[in-house]
């Protein structure tokens, strides 16, 4: 026997309080009442009977005992006792509601979706369960998210089922099933079934999607809502700048036919609402194709890629990507021999170079980087600067000596400025050997000392500068590949944002793998959400891996690249899960409700009411009974007047 509503302590407390109240009232009713009467003469004659009454009143506590017993029975009735096992054969089930993106697919001409069908089936299953069975509702997509604990209250479970709407990610059913088994193993009092309500569309993930595993542990029941669904959707859209032209973007579009029929689908890329490029895709059943659409624009904005089709799943027919603002790196080269520097500075479309005579030098020039070619400016530049073979007395880094016919012995590849630079048996005719200060970066060295030195901003306000002790284009180095790379490294070190490579991709939510350069310092990698909050990630060899279950924009920043992932496409499952043969299907073969624990409250309430009635009949009614008035016994003498 167990109590549903109250614990034993609560029953004791309530009964104690009510009993105390009743006993108090009983004692108060027995207290002597004060009464003013017209005479005492008749009471004196009834005193003998009154004394007998007093002796009988010693036995009147039976009335109190009856009342207390009735109260106890009524309190027990309120506590809703049940005779039998507390569990009463109740079992705990886990209901997996498929909330993957595929569940948003329409199943007919109306607004009915696979998700609505699945929820309807889940509710039918829930209502067919014995009332004492507990259910944990789990929303299953790429994550298994429990919505309720094991709960027997239907008014909690049914809203949880109704509010399970499709998300953006695909279903990882095995993971959800493992979660359900674990929950039943750890939390359930008596394990029941694992019930899956959904379409059973999963991501293959390189494995055989339908490898039917022998069911372990609790039985599996399937409430499948799969119907033939024709759908063509975008799987990936990427946006990258064409290497040949600064204003040309390449839009790479990948689409897949999830249906069973051949489809010819127009695809278009629009920028600012205007269609900039379009193509027609021909897709066989289950085929995925990719096309590249050119897009020419200088401005930043949104690019929309759309498949013009009416299919079951509209969420994967459209993707939006943002073209970031791309500002060129402005460089002013003060040189009286501009033609010597022009090849290295105009090779990159992202660099906007302006040449000026040394006489036109201005310290506050409107540029990001200033190149000073063999002259000493009257005032130090206020922006980042590259000094080429400055005068000995005007060099920002002190010159220790002028070396003649010196061999360049080493490039310091351990810092970004020397990354990738290499020369063999390079001998410089004349080079300034610098005496670097503490904190200065040596980029290239000879046997006499460094000939290329970089000085980072000290305290954050000072501009960066690189001093080259020889003229790369007027020395033997002008034939080396290291020359343009040296300028590229210098400019990239000074303005990393301007020269960072940007890739924009639209893909689906879920687990994202981003390739990065090998040996990238993990400290320089950042993964940021659209609100610039960090997203947890892992580095695995040359991949950054992170997971996001909802549509958002994620930026992956490395020193060289900025990759923007517009996770607006749903992750659509591409294969049908093959359930185990032993799995139960539908609502058939549901075990009948086990015998409920017997309810006792009605009997207790009836018994309590009967006791109160008996007490009233024995004691209460007689207290209230009074005789009716009677007419006077003899008439008076009044007579009508004659």
């Amino acid at each position: 026997m167990f109590f549903v509503n109250l614990s034993l302590a609560e029953i004791g407390m309530i009964f104690g309080a009510l009993s105390a109240f009743t006993v108090t009232l009983y004692l108060l009713s027995r207290a002597r009442k004060q009464q003013r009467v017209a005479t005492l003469r008749f009471w004196v004659s009834s005193q003998d009977a009154a004394r007998q009454v007093h002796r009988r009143r010693i036995d009147q506590p039976w009335s109190l005992l009856l009342q207390l017993l009735a109260i106890l029975l009524l309190v027990l009735a309120v506590s809703q006792p049940r005779w039998g096992d507390r569990d009463g054969g109740a079992r705990d089930h886990v209901l997996l509601i498929d909330t993957s993106s595929w569940m948003a697919a329409r199943t007919g001409q109306g607004q009915n979706t696979l998700s609505i069908d699945a929820r309807r089936e889940a509710l039918r299953w829930l209502r067919a369960l014995p009332v004492q069975d507990r259910v944990m509702v789990v929303r299953a997509d790429s994550l298994a998210t429990p919505v309720t604990r094991f709960e027997s209250k239907r008014d909690v479970l049914e809203p949880a089922i109704r509010e399970s709407t499709p998300g953006q990610s695909a279903l990882l059913l095995e993971q959800a099933l493992e979660f359900a088994r674990h929950a039943l193993r750890v939390q359930a009092r008596r394990a029941g079934e694992i019930v899956y309500a959904g379409a059973g569309r999963v991501v293959s993930a390189g494995e055989a999607p339908g490898a039917p595993a022998a069911p372990k542990g609790p039985p599996l029941r399937l409430l499948l809502t799969e119907k033939p669904v024709e759908n063509v959707g975008l799987t990936r859209v990427s946006l990258s700048r064409a290497p040949t032209e600064a204003n040309l973007w390449e839009v790479n579009v990948s689409a897949r036919n999830y249906g069973s029929q051949f489809r010819r689908i127009p695809v278009a890329a629009a920028f600012g609402g205007a269609v900039m490029a379009n193509r027609s895709l021909e897709l066989n059943a289950g085929q995925e194709v990719s096309v590249t659409l050119p897009l020419r624009t200088q401005a930043a904005g949104w690019v929309e890629v759309r498949l013009f089709t009416k299919d079951a799943l509209s969420q994967d027919d459209r993707a939006q990507l943002e073209i970031p603002e791309q500002k060129p790196l402005r460089v002013i080269a003060y040189s009286d021999d501009a033609e010597a520097l022009r090849p290295v500075l105009e090779a990159d479309a992202r660099i906007e170079t302006r040449f000026a005579a040394t006489a036109a030098y201005r310290a506050d020039a409107d540029a990001d980087v200033v190149i000073l070619d063999r002259f000493r400016p009257p005032q130090a530049p206020k922006v980042n600067s590259i000094w080429i073979e400055p005068p000995q007395n005007g060099s920002p880094v002190p010159v220790s000596k002028v070396a003649e016919q010196v061999a360049l012995s080493r490039w310091r590849n351990d810092n970004p400025l020397g990354a990738g630079l290499r020369t063999k048996d390079l001998k410089l005719g004349s080079a300034l050997v610098f005496r670097p200060a503490a904190g200065d970066i040596s980029v290239a060295e000879t046997a006499d000392g460094p000939v290329v030195v970089a000085r980072a901003a000290a305290g954050g306000n000072q501009p960066k500068l690189v001093v080259i002790g020889f003229h790369p284009m007027r020395s033997n180095m002008r034939f080396e590949l290291a020359t343009p790379l040296l300028f590229a490294n210098c400019l990239h070190w000074m303005a990393p944002d301007a020269l960072r490579t940007r890739n924009v991709q639209a893909t689906s939510v879920g687990s994202i793998r981003v390739p990065i350069a090998a040996k990238t310092n993990p400290d320089t990698v950042r993964v940021l959400s659209d609100s610039d909050t960090p997203i947890p990630f892992t580095l695995h060899e040359s991949e950054v891996r992170f997971f996001t279950p909802r549509a958002s924009t994620v930026r992956v920043l490395t020193p060289e690249r900025e990759q923007v992932y517009s996770l607006t496409l749903p992750q659509v499952a591409d294969s049908v899960w093959q359930p185990p043969a032993q799995a139960l299907r539908g609502l058939r073969s549901m075990s009948g409700a086990p015998p409920l624990a017997k309810e006792l409250w009605a009997w207790l309430a009836t018994a309590g009411g009967l006791l109160l009635l008996i007490e009233w009949l024995l004691y209460g009614r007689q207290r209230n009974a009074r005789s009716v008035p009677t007419l006077p016994r003899r008439p008076f003498e009044l007579r009508r007047a004659s």
């Binding site: 009713s29 027995r30 207290a31 002597r32 009442k33 004060q34 009464q35 003013r36 009467v37 017209a38 005479t39 005492l40 003469r41 008749f42 009471w43 004196v44 004659s45 009834s46 005193q47 003998d48 009977a49 009154a50 004394r51 007998q52 009454v53 007093h54 009988r56 009143r57 007689q622 207290r623 009974a625 009074r626 005789s627 008035p629 009677t630 007419l631 006077p632 016994r633 003899r634 008439p635 008076f636 003498e637 009044l638 007579r639 009508r640 007047a641 004659s642």
Partner: protein, 306 residues
């Protein structure tokens, strides 16, 4: 403006009634109750032999012409008999009633007023005299119905208080009113002493006594149970008692026995008794309880509603 002690509708109904008594009293001519004493009345009573000194105007000369004997005609006297109403104004008359009940004193005042009006309509002379420890000053009402106002005002202004003493009442009444008459006592007859003997004295003195015993339902059927401390309203004595229905039944029996002894007292002395509960409407008390059976039969025969 205070409510009248009796409603006008009831007063109109009371005009049909007459207070009657059974004893014959000597008194002045002008009343309406016949007396067994012969006198200067209008109704013929009897003949008797003429004696010297009798009034020759009463000789039946027609009988003398036939029988040649002198017979004297005697006429029935309808004397003007004094009606005295003694109203109990002791503390017990206002004690022992619940909030929903009319007090005995109020009921007794209304009943007294009704009797006064009935008497005034028949040109009776009535005196109203409250009593508790002793007799208070009387007020006399006579001269017709238009003299009812002062009597009603007097009754309305009365206050109850003090203890009841029927011995003192009898002693004082006998000494002040030597002429017997109709004596109507409206009271609860609750006295610490024995009220039977003083009333018997009054009857022995020649008064025709009418006892109107007034009680409340809660006084006859007390709504008490359990342990109770009772306080006498007049004496202040306390009695602690434990009650149940049996004790209350014993109380009611004692009350009824006492009422029966009062009735027996009245009947033994040729008087009358009526026990009236304040729960009865005043009109019902007068037209059902206080009317004689003959009068009720007469009313039924007349086809009028009771």
């Amino acid at each position: 403006m205070a409510a009248p002690i009796i409603e006008r509708q009831l007063l109109e109904k009371l005009e049909r009634l007459t207070i009657r008594w059974q004893k014959s009293f000597r008194g002045l001519v002008g009343g309406h109750n016949a007396s067994r004493y012969a006198g200067p009345g209008q109704e013929f009573l009897d003949h008797r032999h003429f004696h010297q000194g009798d009034d020759l105007r009463s000789v039946n000369w027609r009988a003398y012409m036939r029988l040649e004997k002198l017979f004297l005609k005697m006429f029935q006297v309808e004397p003007r008999t004094p009606i005295r109403l003694l109203l109990d104004a002791s503390e017990s008359m206002v004690a022992g009633h619940t909030g929903s009940e009319m007090s005995k004193f109020d009921y007794a005042r209304k009943l007294t007023a009704a009797l006064v009006y009935v008497g005034l309509v028949r040109h009776d002379s009535l005196s109203i005299q409250p009593f508790h420890e002793h007799l208070s000053d009387p007020i006399t009402a006579s001269g017709g119905r238009h003299r009812f106002g002062p009597a009603a005002d007097y009754l309305s202004a009365l206050k109850a208080g003090g203890r009841t003493s029927f011995f003192e009442l009898a002693r004082q009444f006998i000494s002040e009113y030597p002429k017997p008459g109709l004596l109507i006592i409206v009271s609860d007859f609750l006295d610490d002493g024995d009220p039977i003997r003083p009333i018997q004295y009054l009857a022995d003195f020649g008064h025709e006594i009418m006892l109107l015993h007034v009680w409340t339902e809660s006084e006859r059927f007390p709504q008490l149970s359990g342990d109770v401390a009772l306080t006498d309203a007049e004496t202040g004595q306390r009695l602690e008692i434990s009650l149940n229905d049996e004790a209350c039944a014993a109380y009611t029996k004692a009350f009824d026995d006492y009422a029966a002894s009062l009735e027996q007292l009245a009947r033994r002395n040729g008087g009358r008794y009526a026990g009236l509960s304040t729960s009865f409407a005043l009109e019902d008390a007068i037209f059902k309880a206080l009317m004689s059976p003959a009068a009720q039969a007469e009313r039924a025969g007349a086809g009028r509603p009771a």
